[in-house]
Symmetry: C2
DNA sequence: AATCCAAATGGAAATCGTTTTCATACTACT
DNA sequence: AGTAGTATGAAAACGATTTCCATTTGGATT
């Protein structure tokens, strides 16, 4: 008669998301762009003072990445960014250095090459990083006309 | 009759490498693998107590990267690595997560796609990051036989 | 409902690569 | 030699992330 256990059931091994994870996930659903842990924390705290602490945000992000619901993106400034992904998948970006917009690439360039890398080098790929930096169409045009 | 100015000549605009840059460059020539700033510093100091300080190593690396003689590589652990490159060129790696070896890829996968990315998204590429992580042939085999 | 255990949480302190600051040493040109 | 602009070094500052540790919470057991 009791509501089922929100963190999961130990007997069945059912494992649900912790409160922290759910809050972080909810925050990421609001964002349409790459977001840092500190941004997520700030955003959550702003809308609710009892929101998870920064430590919990970091821990939750780790869990969500491990679960394949979120991917972390390294844009080279020493601050990791996060975003939702289709569970278990990943994608890469074109990142505009002017307006910070990130465009998803719908195809992974490396996937095509896994086979040839494997056979050419005997290298077993576990994961890879690919990000492209430059100017998006808008900003590139602005740059042109401003000059 | 005097030797020409070792830092360069202001009139001609000739610009040579500073002592720090030369030392760092020499260190990089010794390495056959990706190296961190702190490693370079430690190595230089070990062989000569009057070697450049850490700050100078960082500054020299920045200069060398700007000059296109060195590239910095982000392997995702928060510590940048550096290596010599064919001046003005770049390359990517297969990085073994077990023995830390890095295998140079002789071809840049992104170069082929610049055109199509440009025309499909209007995105102007300035640079990109691509690193592949996994196990090199040796380590992959070891992993197999150990199990 | 009372209790116990494991997991989750929060805040403060610690880490650690890198950058800044600022005073000093060097170099090139006059 | 004199001066201005660089280069350099050590120490302090920075900032994202992790670690510590004490507390709370949730789930199972009685």
């Amino acid at each position: 008669m009791t509501l089922e256990a929100p963190y999961g059931n130990r007997k069945t091994g059912e494992q649900r998301l912790t409160k922290g994870c759910r809050r972080v996930l909810a925050a990421l659903e609001q964002m349409d762009n790459l977001t840092s842990a500190q941004d997520i924390h700030g955003m959550l705290r702003q809308s609710a003072p009892e929101a998870p602490g920064l430590t919990t945000v970091y821990r939750s992000l780790d869990s969500l990445v491990a679960l394949g619901l979120v991917q972390s993106v390294d844009i080279g400034d020493g601050e990791k960014r996060y975003e939702l992904v289709v569970p278990g998948e990943h994608h890469h970006h074109l990142i505009c250095q002017h307006c910070r917009a990130s465009i998803h690439l719908d195809e992974c360039l490396v996937a095509n090459l896994e086979q040839s890398i494997m056979s050419q080098y005997g290298f077993v790929i576990r994961h890879h990083v690919l990000e492209v930096f430059g100017l998006c169409a808008n900003c590139a045009e602005m740059e042109m006309t401003t000059k």
